[in-house]
Symmetry: C2
Subunit: 311 residues, 2 copies
DNA sequence: TAGATTGTTAATCGATTAACAATC
DNA sequence: TAGATTGTTAATCGATTAACAATC
C-alpha cells in the first residue's frame, strides 16, 4: 500500500465540511475544484474515512481508496476552523431548538419497505456520527455516509415532518430520536430468540438491541441437548414454554434460527402466539399469513447469488 | 388448531394443477369458483402446502391458513388423474426437448440486482419441486411458490432466451440448469470463510453450496484462540495465510464474519487480493471500492427494522 | 447581507403488471 | 380441435432525482 505524507500531497475535499483545501495532485499537477457530488471525477480526492464518497483521479488514475488509511480522520478545513468564532457560531446556530416539531403522528402514512430500510440506515449513520461527537449534519453529508442521494433523504424525512433548519441541516440528537419514534423504537419491546447456537454467536451484538429498549427476553431451542444450557445470562428454554413467556409480555418479534423441519414447526407456534414479525435465519422458505412480517436471510442462498457478481 | 376431515369439507383449488374440485364450504355453504389469482378472495380455498397463495373465506372468515396442516400434500385432482392417459400425455409432452435454446450468451445484458435476486429464488423453488419428483412447471405455479407475478417470471426469463413451451410450461431440469448458468453457477467456484464461529454454525448448510460447485475452500480467523482449531474438515488458518490460499485458486467470494475493527482489516486484505464479492455479516458498515460487490446483513439492525412492523 | 440548505414540486427513470397474438 | 400457456408489447405504477422557491 502506497504511503503518502500529508504535507507533501493532496487536494482534500472533506466530506465533513465540503470545503476544498488548496493543493496540487502529485500525479498530474492539476489544481482543485469545488466538488458537490460524490460521483464527480476530480483529481486526487481523498475521502474522509468511513465515507463512501471515494473517487479516483481522472488524470493519473490514482485511486484514493488505497490512500484512505494514510489520511484517516484528517479533515484539514475542520481542524483549521474548529476553534474560530465562525465555526462556533455555525455549530451553535445549528443546535437552536426546532420550531416545527413534525406532522401529526396519527396520519400514519403507509411507508414502503424501502423507506423503512433507509430510515434504519439513517439511524445507524446518525448514531455513529453522534459517537464521534458531532452535533449536526446536512442531508448531503448524511447521504455520503449512507450511500444515497441527498434529495432522497430530504424526501424521506419530509413525509413525517420538518426536522431540519434551512442552511444548517439537522440536529443529530433530535433527528435520531424522531427517526427512532417513526420506526417504533420509542417504546420498549422485546424479542425472543429461537436457536441457542445462533444466539450464542450474536451475544456481543445484542447489546445494541438493548440500547434501543428492545432486548432479548428469552432463548429457546428445539433440541434437548441445548435446553437447560446457559447462553449469556439466559437459560435455554424448551419450545413448550414459548406460550408462557409470550403471554402478557411486550414481545412482538422473534428470531427463528433452527434448521430443517423444526423451523416450520416453531414458526407455526409463533403464528399461534400472534407474533407480529419474524426474522427467519433458518434457510427454509416459510409460508406464513400476511399478518406476520417475515424477513428471511439465508447465508447459502445469498452466497450463490453473489457468484453472479464474480463474472 | 381446527381439524377438518377431507371428505367432509372443502373446495380444493389446487395450486399444483389449478383445477377446482366440487364441494361446499362448511361455514357458509357457498359453492366453488375457478380461481386464477392468489389475491382472489374465494370461499374456503385450501392452498397446497408450501404455496404462499393462502386466502381466507370472504363469507365465514375461516382462514385457510389454520387448516393448512390437515390438507398437507393433498392435491385431489392430481391424485385422481395421475394414472390416466390424459395426465401421462400431458406430462410426456411437457418433457419433449426444447427447440429454441436461448439467446447468445455474449450479448450479456446487464441485469439489476432485483433480477439476480429473483432468479436465485426461482432456482430454489425449482430445486424443491425437483426434489418432490416434479418434471415440469408453469410460470403461474412457480409464481405461487416464489410469491411474485407470473408475468414477471416470464419477463425475467425471456431476457435470456425462450425456455418454455406454450401450453405446457417449463421443464424443471432444463430451466434449472439454464438459470444456474445465468447466475454463473455453471463453472466451479470457491469461497473463503473468515470467522470460525460463524462457519461452525453453518456447517450443515454449506453442503448446499457444494451441490452447486461452490464449496468452502478454507476457514480463517483473526483470534489466536481459534487458529488451529478444527471446523468440520477444516483447520482454522490465520489471516496471514489469506494471500497464499487465494493465489491461483478459483476463489472469488468471501464470507466476512468477524466483529469490530478486525472486520475492516480483513476486508482490506480481501480487497488487496482482488476478491470480487463479499458477504458481510460483521455488522460493520464497510466502505469498499465499487469493484467489489458487497452484500451486508446485520441481525441486530434487521431486528430493529422489524420493530416498525410490530405496530 | 450573501450563501447554504431545507422542504417540495415536477421530471425522470425503472420496475411491474395486464393483455394478447403466437404457439403448442 | 379447443384450451392452455408462452413470449412480448403497451400501460401502469412507484421510486428516485433534479430543480428551485422559501428559509435561515
Amino acid at each position: 500500500m502506497m504511503e503518502i505524507s500529508l504535507s507533501a500531497c493532496g487536494i482534500y475535499n472533506c466530506l465533513d465540511c465540503r470545503y476544498v483545501a488548496n493543493a496540487t495532485c502529485p500525479g498530474c499537477a492539476e489544481g482543485n475544484k469545488h466538488l458537490r457530488d460524490a460521483g464527480d471525477k476530480v483529481c486526487a480526492v481523498f475521502a474522509c474515512v468511513e465515507s463512501r464518497g471515494i473517487a479516483s483521479c481522472q488524470e493519473c488514475g490514482e485511486d484514493s481508496c488505497v490512500l484512505r488509511r494514510s489520511v484517516e480522520s484528517i479533515c484539514p478545513v475542520r481542524s483549521r476552523f474548529e476553534n474560530t468564532r465562525w465555526w462556533a457560531g455555525r455549530m451553535a446556530r445549528a443546535l437552536e431548538p426546532r420550531k416545527c416539531a413534525g406532522k401529526e403522528a396519527d396520519s400514519k402514512p403507509r411507508m414502503s419497505d424501502r423507506v423503512v430500510n433507509r430510515l434504519r440506515w439513517y439511524l445507524t449513520a446518525l448514531d455513529s456520527l453522534a459517537e464521534q461527537g458531532e452535533t449536526s449534519v446536512s442531508s448531503w453529508r448524511l447521504a455520503q455516509r449512507v450511500g444515497v442521494n441527498a434529495a432522497l433523504i430530504r424526501k424521506d424525512l419530509s413525509r413525517f415532518g420538518e426536522f431540519g433548519t434551512p442552511s444548517f441541516g439537522y440536529r443529530i440528537d433530535y433527528l435520531s430520536q424522531r427517526i427512532a419514534a417513526i420506526l417504533g423504537l420509542d417504546e420498549p419491546r422485546g424479542v425472543v430468540w429461537i436457536g441457542a447456537a445462533c444466539m450464542r454467536l450474536h451475544l456481543q451484538s445484542v447489546g445494541r438491541l438493548a440500547k434501543h429498549d428492545c432486548g432479548v427476553v428469552a432463548v429457546f431451542d428445539a433440541s434437548p441437548e441445548e435446553v437447560g444450557s446457559p447462553v449469556g445470562d439466559f437459560e435455554v428454554l424448551p419450545l413448550e414454554k414459548l406460550a408462557d413467556v409470550l403471554a402478557g409480555s411486550r414481545v412482538s418479534a422473534a428470531v427463528l434460527a433452527l434448521t430443517g423441519p423444526a423451523a416450520a414447526k416453531a414458526a407455526d407456534m409463533l403464528v399461534e402466539q400472534q407474533i407480529k414479525a419474524v426474522l427467519n435465519l433458518s434457510g427454509e422458505m416459510l409460508a406464513l399469513p400476511d399478518s406476520v412480517k417475515v424477513c428471511s436471510f439465508d447465508v447459502v442462498g445469498e452466497l450463490l447469488e453473489l457468484c453472479h457478481y464474480c463474472r
